[in-house]
Subunit: 289 residues, 2 copies
């Protein structure tokens, strides 16, 4: 796991050289290079590997998905959004580079990600590239990540059109699960997996995304700034819809455990010690709560 | 020209249906549907047509380039950027939908544009699609539009590393010319034009982009809100680097005329009454100044 994180970090650094005008590249690189668990790129790489593909062929796409993730973090932290001063334990992007550059750094990452896929994936076919880029554009935008974020913001004001349960699931299927789905779907495409396998790992990623979000909501309730590297208790204090606020801590934990079992069921068919290790570490931390 | 604008407007509307969550699609559609001259899509369509291709095959790409243009307008108008309350004569996006939704609407358009190209360009080959998407990602981001915007913001604070002349050209080659370049390059790719023709129309677009910016700077100096549909005299008042502030009105007009002649020289080889009409209308308005 540590080796994989290091490998991803090295490629993220290599794929984004700082050229003129340096300010924008520095702002893009700043949040991108903050230490992270790199779960999304690792899911992409591991999916390619466990489905019999060459993991290194997936590296540009894996890194592009991390760029997209970081783009969403930079914009989410903006004063007009979640107004968060810290990210991964450090001052957030707009605190260092100013709001204008943080907006632009996010914009730039949003197209630099597919640019990287196209420039660096020299061993993929045109058909694979087009499929990957299409998944990227769909999941990154108003049919994915942005849809989740918009409904999240609406829900904060108590303004939502579906039921609270449906709204909460919609937010996190789009805001959280979508990036894991993108990661495993692209990983499977790179391994030339058939459609039924793509759908199965996609189903895993949907469930994992929700498990991961419930984990995050529980941690936001009980964790510390030092542990999470970001402001804690904020969602609770802002009256935001979360799995803990909607279902209570106990039922949230039950949901977590039950969906985590579903994840184990699906992934047990495949040979991935890394993904099992990730599931184990979430399980371990929640069991101590 | 009017028929072309109407055709583009109809397709922009058709390509972006409003679905759940409606707020984001409405915000995207709002600025996109404000009446505009649609110069960039028209350049794309006309380039395909004058190079012997089927204009309608270029429609999704032409509309995608307008989406990118509108994305840049929405983000440029934000309070943390140019802080402009009006656009195309109407309240700007964040004045209607709030800052958070305006940031997200811009983000969403940035990936909805290539998504549209891939979904609607059913008659283009995979190779053509990949070329177009690659040009899009490069010109939209830190190697294009965003680079121009970042240096523009820096220049406002008088903080730039190159000479004022070089800085001003860099800003507008990237901020303004880049979208015209993207339009004609993609138009030429769709017409299956050879590389030397792509380079020639690209060269035209570079010059046209600068001509268009000098025109805009002169108009910002002497025009009215009613005529331009946006706040006037702002660049001058903010001490921004413009062709008029750097060279004076007379020399700016000379530059305009000389580069416009270069544009005529290149485009005279091709049969495009529409592009000539656009050049004529700029010439006419500046000659009256």
């Amino acid at each position: 796991m540590k080796d994989l994180i290091k490998l991803v970090d090295e490629h993220l650094d290599k794929y984004l050289p700082v050229i003129y005008p340096e300010d924008i590249f520095k702002a893009m690189k700043y949040t991108l290079s903050l230490p992270g668990k790199r779960l999304r790129p690792i899911f992409c790489l591991e999916t390619t590997r466990m489905l019999g593909g060459d993991m290194m062929k997936a590296m540009p796409t894996a890194c592009a998905i991390e760029m997209l993730h970081v783009q969403s973090l930079i914009h989410d932290d903006l004063p007009c959004m979640d107004n968060d001063d810290f990210r991964r334990g450090k001052p957030s992007n707009h605190k260092v580079f100013g709001e204008a550059n943080a907006v632009l750094a996010g914009d730039a990452l949003l197209t630099y990600a597919p640019q990287t896929i196209m420039e660096k994936s020299t061993e993929l076919s045109s058909e694979q590239l087009l499929k990957i880029i299409y998944e990227y554009t769909k999941f990154a935008g108003a049919y994915g990540l942005i849809a989740g974020q918009v409904v999240d913001i609406e829900s904060e004001g108590g303004k939502y059109v579906k039921s609270p349960e449906e709204t909460l699931d919609f937010i996190h299927l789009n805001k959280t699960a979508v990036l894991f789905r993108l990661a495993v779907r692209c990983g499977a495409i790179i391994a030339n997996a058939p459609d039924d396998v793509i759908n199965e790992v996609d189903n895993f990623a949907k469930k994992f995304g929700l498990v991961f979000q419930i984990y995050d909501d529980i941690m936001d309730e009980i964790s510390t700034f030092e542990e999470m590297g970001k402001t804690i208790g904020k969602d609770k204090n802002s009256g935001k819809l979360t799995y803990v606020s909607l279902y209570g801590l106990e039922e949230a934990k039950q949901k977590f455990n039950s969906m985590l079992e579903d994840c184990y069921d699906i992934i047990s068919k495949y040979d991935s010690s890394i993904i099992k290790e990730i599931l184990e570490s979430l399980k371990h931390r929640i069991s101590g709560v």
